[in-house]
Symmetry: C2
Subunit: 354 residues, 2 copies
């Protein structure tokens, strides 16, 4: 369990890099014509977000490059745009961080259309604020922009193309995961292993890419790249499982969306998968057809039943186990302040309040 | 005006390469799990299509590589997978051809959702055959697969990354063009230049990429790459203008979709842009709200009025002019059978019956 001190360290590290990432997003993905398209494309990027994934990208670079912010310097003093490679030359690891966040934003926009979710990051989702066509196109624009941006990151590095390949494969996996997620809504029985495979594809691979791509660009050895990818997969899966717990346990105003939405939308989560195996009538837990129609009391009752079945504790335990495994992978990195922050992030992902 | 002999030569060249392209699509984008997602992603690719753009890609490679099919050998005798570069090494130009066709298929699927078009290539559009969520995801999957496939094409070529950058920029332009196209449906006045800019972004850039990417991969000089991109832009714009003419003049069963659909959907075309400037009440030409509701007689009357205004001839003339310009760009290529076929294709794009 992460202490308050750990959480504070993580939030400070994220906050310090967020300002730089936001500046870089503005520089690499500026407003352009047609105005409505670019406004819609940038809308969620501007609505906030912790920038956890880009922070992972920058920290991996710091750990590998020996250009560590933290003990002796602030992130603002690190030139992420011309970051020294392991052998020779430089790459733009900030562009890689931006590309990861841009892909994340694309997936949120298209997922919200498919799930018909009204709220995201405390504001109307893109297809509600604009319309479905604009939201589809905004997602598509973010998609290609991410590849444009990443292809410039390693322009002179032979590994630039490999980084693109990792991102492309990651996006394919995300689509596969989202497809499974939708399929699971219509299936009464989903196994724990199947569920974990879905989360790995839908969510965790982008953490994998966030950690592996800077290593690829910097020319790290293949076993280091693989270990970092594994770190991202396990930490990202832990993140999603914890997210599913938070969807049930955190007040709507802190979540930025309605509490219990996963239950109403019949989403498979590790909690409901476990509960079904314990004989809980998961489909009967809430009655509402739409998230707006569900009462807080109804969600409270559902949560109590899931707690009695041990399903919430099962999910918490699985998340903790995955986070512990992910931290072990980081031993491949040099012992730096940046590595220590990555360890803290793995803890934070499964202990954060929202 | 292209002769029947020209058309026959083009169709033979396309047909000979189509079989190889289709084989390559199966190899590079095979069925996978989740099954429904991959079926939906491959659905339009399997429904047909002439494979004009990939043929352009292969012909450019043939013209540059001196490995010309035609007079002395058939395309089946050319190894497009290990195609000799201008200086040293080989690239997989077939993978580039597949990537272009996969992107084309992605744009059709998402465009059909936005336009709510029911038919495509004579079969139900993907969101009608499956559902909107599956169609969004199928398009997204094709998108990332195209980048995966292209990133393997030039794996050992330093220009591999530049090829990816061209494709990414192309996709951004396509989104911008589609956004303008939608915007134009809600505007009463669109200028000829604006319209041509929209077509360049939405449609022509993919012809530009189809012609330029093989040149990039093969290591051709920058002025050759630029000339080929220009060829694609002009030929592609001519193609779209001719397509707009065909939408009004070709029977529905040959089009594979309902004749006159552009008029019903209030799409701006060069024909309607011109007609408005001549004082024609374009919005009053057809009464129907949906393509299913429009009669052949109503379309016939609309076409007669557009002919009287000179708008159809204006569009035909513009298409011919662009095709002529595009052919002139090809003089940068060595004088080969492949170049001669590219010239024929430019003619064919503005003379084809459907």
């Amino acid at each position: 369990m992460a202490s308050d001190v750990t959480e504070e360290r993580v939030l400070r590290a994220v906050r310090e890099r967020r300002a730089l990432v936001n500046e870089a997003i503005d520089a690499d993905f500026p407003m352009a014509e047609p105005r409505r398209l670019y406004e819609a494309s940038r809308y969620l990027l501007e609505a906030g977000g912790k920038r956890l994934r880009p922070t992972v990208t920058l920290l991996v670079a710091e750990a590998l490059g020996g250009v560590s912010a933290g003990a002796t310097r602030t992130p603002a003093g690190v030139d992420y745009r011309t970051f020294p490679r392991v052998d020779d030359g430089t790459v733009d690891v900030m562009a890689a961080a931006v590309a990861i966040e841009v892909i994340q934003s694309f997936t949120l926009i298209h997922d919200d259309i498919m799930d018909d979710d009204d709220l995201r990051r405390g504001v109307p989702s893109v297809h509600k604020e604009y319309d479905v066509s604009t939201a589809i196109l905004a997602g598509d624009t973010l998609y290609s922009k991410a590849f444009e941006i990443l292809s410039r990151a390693g322009a002179d590095a032979p590994e630039g193309l490999e980084a693109v390949r990792v991102l492309a494969t990651t996006c394919t996996h995300i689509c596969e995961g989202q497809s499974l997620d939708i399929e699971f809504e219509h299936r009464s029985s989903v196994g724990v292993e199947e569920y974990l495979e879905m989360v790995e594809h839908k969510t965790a691979v982008l953490y994998g890419a966030a950690a592996a791509i800077p290593a690829v660009l910097l020319g790290a050895d293949e076993d280091v790249v693989d270990a970092l990818y594994g770190f991202g997969i396990e930490a990202g899966t832990a993140f999603q499982i914890h997210d599913d717990v938070l969807d049930l346990t955190v007040p709507s105003e802190d979540l930025g969306k309605r509490r219990g939405s996963d239950l109403v939308e019949r989403k498979a989560t590790l909690i409901t998968v476990h509960a079904r195996q314990q004989g809980v009538d998961v489909d009967g837990l809430v009655d509402a057809e739409r998230v707006e129609g569900v009462s807080e009391a109804e969600i409270d009752d559902a949560v109590s039943e899931l707690e009695r079945a041990g399903s919430i504790e099962f999910a918490r335990e699985k998340a903790r186990e995955l986070a512990a495994n992910s931290k072990a992978r980081l031993e491949t990195l040099p012992d730096t302040e940046a590595r220590s922050l990555l360890v803290d992030i793995a803890d934070y992902l499964v202990t954060r309040g929202y």
